[in-house]
Structure formats: C-alpha cells, structure tokens
Symmetry: C2
Subunit: 192 residues, 2 copies
C-alpha cells in the first residue's frame, strides 16, 4: 500500500443513449489536417482540409494516474463521413506496453474495429450499439465509422498502457473500409 494518501472514489455520468460523458477532464480532438498520410485518397483529404478542416474524432477522458493497477476509461466519438470512398477512421495505435488489452463497448452508431498484430494477423469486428469488443494484448486497433451517425464507444484499458502510433502511420492496416455511393460497404485489401 502506498504511504501517501489513497485516491478517493468518484463517479461520472454517461448518457447511454447519446454516448456523452459529463464533465470530462480532457478532450483530445483530431481534425482532417491531422490525418495526412492515413487515407488512400490524399487529394480528397486535401479538399476536405480546404473546405474547413473539420473535426473527425474526439476522445473524452477523466484524469487518472497513468500507473499500474488503474483502469483508464474514455469515450471515443468518431464522426460519420468519407475521404473519397474511405470511411472516417481513427489513426489507430498499439499500446506502448504492447501486452495491454482494451475493451470497446459501442454505445451508438455502426462501424468496425480493425485490428492487426506485428506478426501479420488481422481481424475486423463489427461495432454497433451494445457490441463489446475485446482487443487482446499485442493487437493494434482502429475504429471505422461506416454509418450515418457518430460511432461512439466507451473504452477501458490499463492506465499504464500508453499509445504507440509510430509504425501505423507508415504501414497502415491490411484492410480499408470503403463506402460506395449506394451505401454498400466494401472491405478492400490495402494496396498502400
């Protein structure tokens, strides 16, 4: 037991229909201009940036010690839309502590959790309200919104997990999720 004072319990309200956390301590926002290099259609991304550089996704957190034993939780909110034909998505990350798992409980929207390992495995799990996806240790993970409303998940992971974005920016994931004009979802093998 630590000799200093213990952390006090606390509560936070989560709207389980809208997927909103009341009074987060921290909001991390990612705009279109933060996503250069991630989408297949770079010209379409530049047009999106020029048209007002919209907010693509946000993470809402409470402040917790980033220490072993704590369980970090956050709301991930990914807007609907496309860059060219490719669905809006998060950058995706491994954990710095690669052996740290993560839970994603989808509260709203439709989409996918795309995962891969450094050994070349990949997995694509559908996300919809009430779907809880377990991201095991050593799996990088990216959210993809293939629906028409925000894709919102409540996430939980070891607070000392950290984030490792480095290799994904250059290597990407082995699949891309495209949305054709008629609403048809296509999972393509990534060509680059």
């Amino acid at each position: 037991m630590p000799t200093s004072g213990l952390m006090q319990p606390f509560g936070v309200d989560v709207d389980l229909i809208e997927g909103i956390m009341t009074a987060p301590d921290r909001i991390a926002a990612t705009k279109a201009s933060d996503m250069r290099g991630y989408y297949q259609d770079a010209a379409a991304l530049e047009r999106l940036i020029e048209s007002g550089d919209p907010l693509l996704y946000e993470v809402f957190e409470k402040r917790l010690p980033l220490e072993p034993g704590h369980v970090m939780f956050c709301i991930s909110k990914l807007q609907p839309g496309r860059v060219g034909q490719e669905c809006f998505m998060t950058k995706g990350h491994y954990h710095e502590t690669a052996g740290a798992a993560e839970l994603y409980l989808c509260l709203r929207g439709r989409g996918y959790l795309l995962m891969k390992t450094a050994e070349g495995q990949s997995a694509l799990e559908p996300m919809y309200r009430g779907r809880l996806v377990y991201v095991p240790p050593y799996w990088a993970h990216r959210s993809i919104n293939s629906g028409q409303e925000p894709l919102i998940s409540l996430c939980a992971y070891p607070a000392d997990a950290g984030h490792n974005y480095g290799e994904i920016e250059t290597e990407g994931f082995p699949q891309r999720v495209l949305l054709r004009g008629g609403g048809e979802v296509i999972v393509s093998q990534a060509a680059g």
Copy 2:
C-alpha cells in the same frame, strides 16, 4: 511478445437496456444461504433461506487469461429485496492484488457502491443507469440494491486482480443501507 500464438479478438453482445450479456462462459451465483454472517438481522436471513433460499446475485463473465495486461469484464446482477430492513447486497471484496482498480458502469436499477479502505476510510457512491463509478486501488467495494428492480452493472478490472473476501466477512463495512417500509433509504453506521 509471447512466443506462443496470440489471443484472437472477440465480441460479445450486451443489452444496454436490460443489462444482459449474451452467451457468458461462466455464471457465479450467490444464494441467501451463502450470505450467513453478512446481514444485521440473522434471524430474518434464516427465514429467507427456509422460504426457498433464493438467488440473490449473479456475475456473468467471459473467459479470459487471468494475467497482467488483460482487462476482465463482467455483468453484476443483484436482485431487489431486503433481509429484515437491510437491502440486498453483495459480499464485497478487496482485490488480492490490492492495488487494482475497478470500473462499475450501472446499466439498470438503483442503489449504491459502498467502499472502504484498510485505513478506515469509507465512501458511498449512488448507482443508477449511466452512472460510472471508479473504485480506486486499495478500496474494498460492495454493491447494494435499494431499488425495486435488479441492480445491474458492467464491471472492468485488471484480469490479475483476484478477489479477497476474507476480512470483510468478519469486519463488514462501516455502513449498512436500510430500507424502511415507506421506501425511505437509511444509511446507518454499522453496529455489528
């Protein structure tokens, strides 16, 4: 990274209105006769046991490795009712790895999360649909149902946390939550 094969991602469906997990791997059930020694009114508990020994609470889990880095999740379902005037409650536990935190997201019902530390601190957090309570490292915790329907929470904690019930059976918690006939909730300092 482990040299053996990595665990594969998986998903599970959670009914976010009813608080039901589809196809759990394991259900741990606690009946009235498992709760001897916990309630203030031992005679009332014996009458409840004699009247059919009802199921008081259940925990629904998926099977995960109980290893560092994994995040265990479960549904906790506590029935409504009283033993004498005292609301139905779980035994409560510390974690064996005492420095492991836990998240409780209430999906249904009304009640409390009662917490204490070995140093004599205590805390009582209200639980209701959408309330997420953070149980920090080193805090024992017990669910209490003061409502009229099941109190259901989705919980997440480090998979290597373990459970330590030992001292709570003899020492209890510093408060008891009573429900008077008219529906009035009373938090009493535990006399024993």
